[in-house]
Each structure stands twice: as structure tokens, then as C-alpha cells.
């Protein structure tokens, strides 16, 4: 770890001003990922801007739905009565991630900024385009059991490791981003990006911007939500495959459906085509299997992760069965 400067900010305006002034600075909140990356010399910011004092820890209802401050803790949201009753998918996804200790430190903004767990990204002795552009992707022909099957690029097949993100993309969340000069609101689905030819960038956040809020529009999925996480260890482990499923049912008829997957792409992966297929259909094993088949179109594996091509549709079906209370 190299020496770095540390400044602590008391207001949103002073934080974004600091970002403007120090474009290479990194924001630190819970630090549960950034500190690890710094200890391993994967990231070496020369300046940290601590935003913990900022008044962004709230979770409250608004006209649109629920608004969550970027500094709200993961555990705070997962245990929040409003989230548990109206947005249980988010609660389930958060609780499927990490350990209790980490969830007590991790913030919403920080979780969104969590970097991939590709082991080549972490090990500075091996090539990695995400860590060091143009050095090569070790995972393509290396150990790639955890890696992506959707939207991969030939320079990076890493996946976004978050569970929370999968629920948020399924729930049509929006993100408020603030810089010294302006504020913008974008769809959560547009926050993260595919690796493309710039794998060093995980998302579309500009260097002078910070995340201030996450907004989840009101929905009627709360009776039929399920987050399935398939992993190598029950207690805690990053997802091999995860599926977020939210249904709005009218009897056995699916009025609305939201489906997303984790552990499969560089960003939380929304299954729009499968959703379109299921909309207005009956909840049945047959329809779920068809939806899973549709969802798998375009999937591509890389050797160690070949099993995901079979595990992913199986997991989609299981999540839908659970969400619709068919199993």
C-alpha cells in the first residue's frame, strides 16, 4: 500500500467540489472493498475522500416509491420494515451477499461500486486488462469458473459480484448522480456497463460525480418475489449464478414480471426477453422453462464455466417457481 492523503467531508457540496479538484481521488464510505484492493496494490489512489459524515443514510418513502441514501448501510436496508414488506426482493438479495459483518459496513453506493472478484484482477503478478489495460485477459483461457456468459468481450469476461445490484436492476431502480455543476438521474440498468473495449471501467459514473441516491419505484411484486443464489458455499460466497424474480400475479396469471441475473455478466443482467414472454402468461413450469430458454439466447461459456449454461436456466426456473409459490 502506498501513502495516500485522506480528507473527510461534511457536506455533499464540499464532497463534489473535492472530486472536481482531485479527479484521481477515490471516495471511501464503508471501505469493505476499496481497502482490500489498496492492500493488494490493485488500486492505489493518492487521495481518499471520506464521505461518511454526509447526510445520506436515510431510507424513506416518496411519491415515486422509496428513496435510499447512498450511505444507507446494506444491513440497515435489509432489516428495514418498509423494504422487508414492500421490496422483499432487495432485502433477500442483500442478505444473500457477504457476511453480517460486511453488510454492517457496506453502503448502497459502495456496493454499486464494488469491483469484480476475478482472481486475476486481484493478483498483480498476472495480466489483467481491467487492472492494467492492454496487458491481456488471463481469465479467457485460464481459471474462469466464476466468469461471465452474457455480454462478454474478448478482453474481459469478469462479472459484477454484487447481489444487491441484481435486485435493484430487476426493480427498475434509478440512481441520482451529483457533480459540482449538475445532478442527473439515470436508470440503474444504465449505471453499470459491459466490458467492451474498456474493461477498466465498471460503470458510467464520471470522475467528478458521486452517487447520492437510489430510487425504487413503487411496485406490486412483494407477494411474489424470490432471490435465488447458487454458490459453492452456503454460508457466504460470491454467486455462481443468482436470479432475482419479481412477479405481479392475478390469480395464476402473470400481470408483470421482473427477472435479472447475477454472476453472468459484467453488469447485473436483466432478462427483458424472458420477461416479455412471460407477461400475461400463466405461471407454469412449462412457461418458466420456455422463459429460461429465451433468457439463455446468446450465452457463451469459456471452459470452466460451461456448467453455467445448464445451471442458469435451471436456476431461473427455480426462482420463478419459488416466486410464484409453485414450489
Amino acid at each position: 500500500m502506498i501513502n495516500f492523503d485522506y480528507i473527510r467531508m461534511g457536506s455533499i457540496s464540499s464532497a463534489v467540489k473535492a472530486l472536481d479538484k482531485f479527479p484521481d481521488a477515490k471516495i471511501i464510505a464503508g471501505g469493505s472493498n476499496l481497502i482490500d484492493l489498496m492492500k493488494r496494490n490493485v488500486m492505489a489512489p493518492t487521495k481518499l475522500i471520506d464521505i461518511n459524515p454526509l447526510p445520506l443514510k436515510y431510507i424513506h418513502t416518496t411519491k415515486q416509491g422509496v428513496q435510499i441514501g447512498a450511505l444507507a448501510l446494506n444491513s440497515q436496508a435489509a432489516d428495514h420494515e418498509l423494504i422487508k414488506t414492500k421490496y422483499p426482493l432487495l432485502s433477500m438479495a442483500i442478505n444473500a451477499g457477504a457476511s453480517a459483518q460486511l453488510r454492517n459496513m457496506a453502503t448502497f453506493g459502495g456496493n454499486m461500486m464494488q469491483r469484480t472478484r476475478c482472481s486475476y484482477f486481484y493478483d498483480t503478478t498476472m495480466p489483467c486488462n481491467k487492472r492494467e489495460p492492454n496487458s491481456g485477459c488471463s481469465a479467457l483461457t485460464g481459471i474462469n469458473r466464476m466468469h461471465g456468459i452474457f455480454g462478454t468481450s474478448d478482453v474481459c469476461i469478469a462479472v459484477n459480484p454484487s447481489d444487491m445490484n441484481v435486485a435493484l436492476v430487476a426493480l427498475d431502480a434509478k440512481v441520482i448522480l451529483k457533480s459540482a455543476k449538475k445532478e442527473r438521474t439515470i436508470a440503474f440498468a444504465d449505471f453499470h456497463k459491459l466490458a467492451g473495449d474498456s474493461p477498466q471501467l465498471d460503470n458510467h459514473l464520471q470522475k467528478n460525480e458521486m452517487i447520492t441516491d437510489i430510487i425504487i419505484p413503487e411496485n406490486q411484486f412483494y407477494n411474489n418475489s424470490y432471490y435465488l443464489k447458487v454458490r459453492d458455499r452456503h454460508s457466504y460466497a460470491f454467486a455462481l449464478i443468482s436470479v432475482a424474480a419479481g412477479l405481479e400475479m392475478d390469480g395464476q396469471n402473470i400481470k408483470k414480471v421482473r427477472l435479472a441475473m447475477g454472476g453472468v455478466a459484467h453488469k447485473p443482467w436483466r432478462l427483458y426477453d424472458a420477461e416479455n414472454f412471460l407477461q400475461g402468461k400463466t405461471a407454469s413450469l412449462q412457461n418458466f422453462e420456455e422463459a429460461a430458454k429465451i433468457a439463455m439466447k446468446g450465452a457463451k461459456s469459456y471452459g470452466h464455466n460451461d456448467f453455467k449454461l445448464a445451471l442458469a436456466p435451471s436456476s431461473i426456473v427455480e426462482a420463478l417457481l419459488k416466486a410464484s409459490h409453485l414450489s
Binding site: 482472481s119 488471463s138 485460464g142 459453492d232 458455499r233 455462481l240 445451471l311
Partner: protein, 737 residues
């Protein structure tokens, strides 16, 4: 030995329990030494080749740096290295920083010593090595053709006919693969070395203070007495601290060269290449029986990984030679030497690996015979050890099958694979047996009774976790028929009477016996004193006529407190030291501990995720000295076995010859939420021949046989045989979707 009745709860607690849970137990890195400095190692990033150049200038000029050590400045400063340039590196002779050769990825190539840990870490990042790479080998499969015998004199074992299983009416042949399991106890490898003049004090993470003492003394060719090794608390070791590693030698050398106390603590990543692992092993088992299930032949072959510089050898195929009554057995054991760090014993060493294959093969054979797996084992139950034809000193393995099967509800099991379901989950039951040598070596213990009635027991044994302290205390408590509050134990220090290295399920048998013998000798001495100062009529009373109970020596209804006894003798204390060791009983009997592990698990039919829902382990380890600690130790082994079966695997990226999962996010050990209720059943019958206390030891059998129980349960749940560990969900592929 009599049991004490009605013991208070605290009398069965660990002697270090409160210290450990309150942070009061000092581990080797936690001693405060004035002027301490910090050593940080730089690992090699290539697997094989040589260091062409090593630029340490920036590191040397970095703030707080005292010294940078490497092959450029260490070699001849170490007397043993200087004396014998041809000295061969093996697991006993590390020769750290000896030359420019790279033998494995993660090999220490330099050490920075600085005034703070952070400054040492930073300076270490500034060291630049330029390597000349050579082609490396880390892939077992690709190197099997180059396998060698473990030593020139090693002979393959043959009992009667080779490959006789092929002539049996029913036989199976199968290959079983097990990956590297990396040593990762909670306490990282750590050491403080402190020279004062020509004397060295080492606070060490070690399983044996005396073997460490000899090792460090040999580096500097000094009298062992000049070296004091202190290790009263060890935060888990499992075999990794059975000998000293390069990081420890580097610290001792650094302390000498800088003339300052130096502390080194490995990082979790460094643990993957610097303290050993259970070696990846490929096995073949051919096993055949008559239609009635009478074994005709066993062929067991193993190919195990070792480093290019050490023939690390385990007893992997040995259990097949005596576990079952079988007329024809042959075994072959080979080493595959590659460009990897050195393996080392890990809990249940060898046998855990070998019994994984044998007990899976027994299950496969049972299914082919359409026979209950337990019935097959009982049909071939050995009463006389078939390898050496000696009777067992004690063997209650049959009872283990019986009580374990009853507890897990084996009779409720429908033997048909993939036939049982519970709450939507596939249900599997599996069984696996464990066996390990019940050893006894030599140890010395001192028992001291002082004028206040306090009894102190001393022996230098390490306590790496099993509760050796309470074991020693409990033996003394039983011997003196007293509660624990007057009994104190000291261990883990070369200033104490010698005890062997803690390993191989030996400590209770060996050190416990020494404590027993020392206590008996102390009681005899007390009887002598009694005759001199209490009974003055000149009459001699036989030792057997005395009773020792609750702080008093009793003869014919007359009770004399220990305090009075010592005071009347005009003494401060009574003390005896006794060495205790095995005798010729080792030639007359076969000595083994046994265990049977039963597992019930659930498998998710859509995802293949495995959840162990119950484990029952029944163990014959002779007399159980401290039931609470023995149970804890068994639970620890079971947890290790669950990791071995389902999650643990050191994964190489063979292109680079490095681990791709050298951290706890990617290398999965089971944690609390992965562990089901575990029932431990003790046969608890003393072994009449092994030692005076009747205890056989159980640290190893706690894990041996657990992994095959899980593998067999996975087969029962799904009908799929997974023959390579760990059994991850992608290998099961039973998805019903």
C-alpha cells in the same frame, strides 16, 4: 485410572479457555519486546528459474528500513550454510536466501526489516526482481509418467497375489482425485526472534518447542541450550507447524544480522506457498469380492505431488494393507516432483487421503454387490491385523458402526440411489471409516506439590488446539482424586521437561502417560515422606494402603493434608520428574484408533447445492480423558472433513504455476453456517495395553473417513459418483429442470 465423579463445570474447561476468549492468551506475534522491528517477505512471482538481478536500492532508502536481506547478502553469514555449501535443501534445511534459484512461485526471495510493519510492507513493494524463467511443471496429470518411488529402498507392498481383485466374482476399479488442501489455521505463521549475545529467544508458532530449538541452534551451530523457544498458545496448526519454514529461518537470520528483535507474520496469501499443504493425490483402487461379499483382493495405488527438492511421503496407501481382512493386497505409492512449494502433513495425513479412496471404493463395491455398505465392512472385519498379524490392543470399530448407524437412523435409509426426498430436497446417507496409528513416544513430566497444596504439572508439549492443558490437568486430577482448583499446568516452553512435537494423535497417549507417571511417583514420594514425618513408629505401610483425595493423604482413616505433610517435613515443596515411554507392548500388539462417520445431506434438485444436515461420528479412541475437549476435537475434524469433501481446493493456473485462489474469498473453508449438528459418540473403553491411562488419541481419526462418507452420501442422493474432490455442484449436475 479412576474417574472423578461430580466434577464442577470449570474443572473440565480448557486451562486456556478464558484467556483465549478474552484475548488474554498471547500468541507468538503478540509479545511486546522493546525495540522490536518487522520483517516482511517478498515472494517470487515465477515458478522456476533464477533471479538475474534484484534491485533493493529503493527499498533500502525507504523510510524506516533497517536492512534488506536476500541471497546477495545472507549466504555465508549463516554458519551452517557456510560450512556446507553442498547442503541439500529439503523440508528440514530451508536454506532461505541461499542462492539465486527459484524453485516455486511464492518462494521468499527477500526480506525487508523496518521499524514499523507498514513501512516494511511498503519497502517490500519497491523491490524489483528480474528473472530468467525456466519451464515449470505444476500439473499432476501431465507429470505422472515421471513419478518416482519415495526413496531408493522403498518397496511396493504385496501380500500374496498382485491384482487378485480382477479374479473376484465382483469387482470395481476406480480413480479418485484429491486436490491440494492449503494450511490455513486461524493464526497466521508468525515468529519473533530475539538474540541477546549468543543466546536466542524465539516466540514461535510451533507444534514442538524442542524440534524448533534444535533447528534454530543448528542454523548457527550453537548449543541447543542457548536457544529458548516459547509457545504456550498456538492458534491452530494442523501439521503446518511440525517443522520450521523459511519465514522462520529468515526471521532468526534477520534478528542476528540486524542485532534487533524481529517479528514476522505471514499474510494469508503467503500462507498458500510458505507453510505447506496436503498434497494433491491421484489414486487408483481395484477391489473385488465373492458374490457373498468376502473380499478377495485390494489394489491401491497413489501418485502424490511433492516439491522438486523434497520427497515428502505419506502413509496414503497403508490403511488398505490392514483395514479389512483380505487375502491379497498390493499397494504402490509414487511421488510426482514438480515446481511447487513443499507439502507437509495435514490433519489425518496420508490416511485421510487413502481412506477417501478406499472407503469410496468399498461403497461402490457394496452397491455392485447389492449389499448394505456397513454389512460389507462387517463381513470383512479384521480381528487380527492382517499386515503384521498382531492382535489389536483394543478394537471396537464394530461397536462404532452399530452405535453410529443407530444414531443417524441408517435403517430408515432406502439404499436405492436418488430414491429419498425431504422438503423438496434429495436426501443422501453415507458412511466412511477412519483408522490411524495409536502411538506413544517418550515424554517427561514434572509434578510439584507446594506447601499451600498447589499441584503444578509441567511438560513442554504444545497445545495447538486440542486442549492439551486440560488433558494434563485432568490426568493429574484423576490421579490425586481432586478438583481442578488446586491443579495448574505449564506447557509450551523449552525450559520445561521435554515432550515430543504435537502431531500424529500422540500427545494424550505420550504426555498424558508422563503426567500419570509423574503423579504416581509424586504420590510414592509423599508416602516416603509420610513414613519419615507422620508415622514415626517405624512401621512400613504399603503404597496401596494409602488413599489420596481432595488434598489429603489418608491411611487407615487418618487424614493428613498435603500442607501439613510438607510443613511437617520442613519442606517448601515436593517435586518429581519422570520420563515415560512405550515398552515392548509395541511388538506384541497392533495399536490403532478407529472412527466411523455417518453423514446425512440434502441436495437441491435444481441447483445441485449440497447441504450436510447431520453428522454422526462414532469413535474408538480408548479412554476419553476429557470428554468436552475430545468432543470439540472431533467436531473440528468433522468440519475439516466437510471442507475437504465439498469446498477446499488449491487451484493452480498451470500457465503461471501460481494459485488462482490464494485468499479466503476464493478458497472456501466451511464456517458456522455450513456446519450441521454433529453428534460425537465415544466408545470410551480404555485400551489395556497402550499406556497407563488407556487413551489412544483421536485428532486424526476425527477427519479420516469423513470425506468418503459425504461422497457416498452424494451418490446415494443422486446416483452420481463424483470421484474428484471437492464435490462442487457443477460436478453433481443432477439438475432436474
Amino acid at each position: 485410572m479412576e474417574n472423578l465423579l461430580n466434577l464442577a463445570a470449570e474443572d473440565t474447561d480448557r486451562t486456556d479457555g478464558i484467556l483465549k476468549v478474552t484475548g488474554g492468551a498471547k500468541y507468538s506475534a503478540e509479545y511486546q519486546i522493546p525495540g522490536i522491528t518487522y520483517g516482511v517477505l517478498v515472494p517470487s512471482t515465477i515458478a522456476k528459474g533464477k533471479i538475474n538481478s534484484l534491485d533493493t536500492k529503493a527499498a533500502e532508502n525507504a523510510p524506516g528500513v533497517i536492512k534488506v536481506l536476500s541471497h546477495l547478502n545472507v549466504n555465508n553469514s549463516v554458519p551452517r550454510y557456510a560450512k556446507d555449501q553442498a547442503l541439500i535443501i529439503d523440508r528440514n534445511i530451508n536454506k532461505v536466501f541461499y542462492n539465486d534459484q527459484i524453485l516455486f512461485a511464492g518462494q521468499p526471495i527477500a526480506m525487508v526489516i523496518a521499524d514499523t510493519y507498514e513501512r516494511a510492507v511498503y519497502a517490500a513493494s519497491l523491490i524489483k526482481a528480474v528473472y530468467q524463467k525456466a519451464p515449470h511443471q505444476t500439473n499432476l496429470e501431465l507429470n505422472i509418467a515421471n513419478a518416482v518411488a519415495p526413496n531408493p529402498n522403498a518397496k511396493d507392498y504385496v501380500r500374496n497375489q498382485i491384482d487378485a481383485y480382477k479374479d473376484a466374482e465382483v469387482f470395481i476399479e476406480a480413480e479418485y482425485d484429491q486436490p491440494n488442501h492449503i494450511h490455513n489455521p486461524m493464526e497466521l505463521g508468525s515468529i519473533i526472534a530475539h538474540w541477546e549475545g549468543d543466546g536466542l529467544t524465539v516466540y514461535d508458532k510451533t507444534q514442538g518447542v524442542f524440534s524448533s530449538q534444535r533447528h534454530y541452534a543448528s542454523l548457527y551451530e550453537i548449543d541447543s541450550k542457548k536457544v529458548r523457544v516459547i509457545a504456550p498458545h498456538v492458534g491452530g496448526a494442523f501439521g503446518m507447524a511440525l517443522h520450521s519454514w523459511p519465514y522462520q529461518d529468515a526471521t532468526v537470520i534477520a534478528a542476528k544480522i540486524t542485532n534487533r528483535p524481529v517479528k514476522t507474520m505471514l499474510t494469508r496469501i503467503q500462507m498458500f506457498t510458505m507453510v505447506g499443504y496436503r498434497p494433491e493425490t491421484k489414486q487408483f483402487v481395484g477391489i473385488g469380492a465373492s458374490k457373498e461379499g468376502i473380499l478377495q483382493g485390494i489394489t491401491h495405488k497413489a501418485w502424490a505431488v511433492t516439491s522438486s527438492f523434497d520427497n515428502f511421503t505419506e502413509g496414503t496407501v497403508r490403511p488398505s494393507q490392514f483395514m479389512y481382512k483380505c487375502p491379497n493386497v498390493n499397494t504402490i505409492y509414487r511421488l510426482v516432483k514438480m515446481d511447487v512449494s513443499n507439502p507437509i502433513w495435514m490433519r489425518g495425513p496420508g490416511e485421510a487421503t487413502g481412506m477417501y479412496a478406499l472407503e469410496c471404493a468399498m461403497d461402490e463395491l457394496a452397491y455392485k454387490l447389492n449389499m448394505d455398505p456397513i454389512e460389507l465392512r462387517l463381513k470383512n472385519y479384521a480381528v487380527i491385523n492382517p499386515e503384521n498379524e498382531l492382535p489389536w490392543s483394543s478394537k471396537f470399530l464394530d461397536e462404532c458402526y452399530e452405535i453410529g448407524a443407530k444414531k443417524i437412523g441408517w435403517s430408515n435409509r432406502n439404499p436405492k440411489p436418488a430414491s429419498m426426498k425431504e422438503n423438496g430436497m434429495l436426501v443422501g446417507y453415507g458412511v466412511g471409516s477412519g483408522v490411524f496409528n495409536a502411538g506413544r513416544s517418550s515424554a517427561t513430566a514434572r509434578a510439584t506439590l507446594d506447601e499451600t497444596g498447589k499441584l503444578t504439572i509441567q511438560s513442554a508439549a504444545s497445545d495447538i488446539g486440542p486442549g492439551t492443558g486440560i488433558m494434563m490437568k485432568k490426568v493429574a486430577m484423576d490421579s490425586f482424586q481432586t478438583e481442578g482448583k488446586e491443579v495448574f499446568v505449564e506447557l509450551g516452553d523449552t525450559n520445561l521437561p521435554p515432550a515430543p512435537t504435537q502431531g500424529g494423535s500422540n500427545t494424550t497417549s505420550t504426555v498424558g502417560s508422563a503426567v500419570y507417571d509423574a503423579c504416581t511417583a509424586l504420590k510414592e514420594k509423599m508416602v516416603q515422606v509420610y513414613h519419615q514425618f507422620i508415622v514415626t513408629d517405624g512401621q512400613q505401610h504399603a503404597y496401596e494402603n494409602f488413599t489420596f483425595k481432595n488434598g489429603a493423604i489418608i491411611l487407615g482413616g487418618k487424614s493428613t493434608s498435603y500442607t501439613d505433610l510438607i510443613k511437617k517435613a520442613g519442606l517448601k515443596e515436593l517435586t518429581v520428574t519422570r520420563e515415560s515411554k512405550a515398552g515392548n507392548e509395541r511388538q506384541k500388539y497392533a495399536f490403532n484408533s478407529f472412527a466411523v462417520h455417518f453423514v446425512k445431506l440434502h441436495i437441491h434438485p435444481f441447483t445441485g447445492m449440497v447441504k450436510v444436515v447431520q453428522v454422526v461420528s462414532a469413535v474408538d479412541a480408548g479412554k476419553i480423558i476429557s470428554e468436552k475437549q475430545a468432543r470439540s476435537q472431533m467436531i473440528g475434524g468433522v468440519v475439516g472433513g466437510i471442507g475437504m469433501a465439498l469446498t477446499e481446493e488449491g487451484i493452480y493456473d498451470h500457465r503461471f504455476g501460481v494459485y488462482a485462489n490464494n485468499n479466503f474469498a476464493d478458497y472456501h473453508v466451511p464456517v458456522h453456517a455450513d456446519i450441521p449438528p454433529i453428534d460425537i459418540l465415544f466408545v470410551n473403553k480404555p485400551d489395556p495395553y497402550i499406556n497407563p491411562i488407556g487413551a489412544k488419541g483421536l485428532g486424526e481419526v476425527s477427519i479420516i473417513g469423513l470425506a468418503p462418507a459425504i461422497a457416498n452420501a452424494v451418490f446415494h442422493a443422486t446416483g452420481k459418483r463424483v470421484r474428484d474432490l471437492p464435490i462442487t455442484l457443477d460436478k453433481i449436475t443432477v439438475w432436474e429442470s
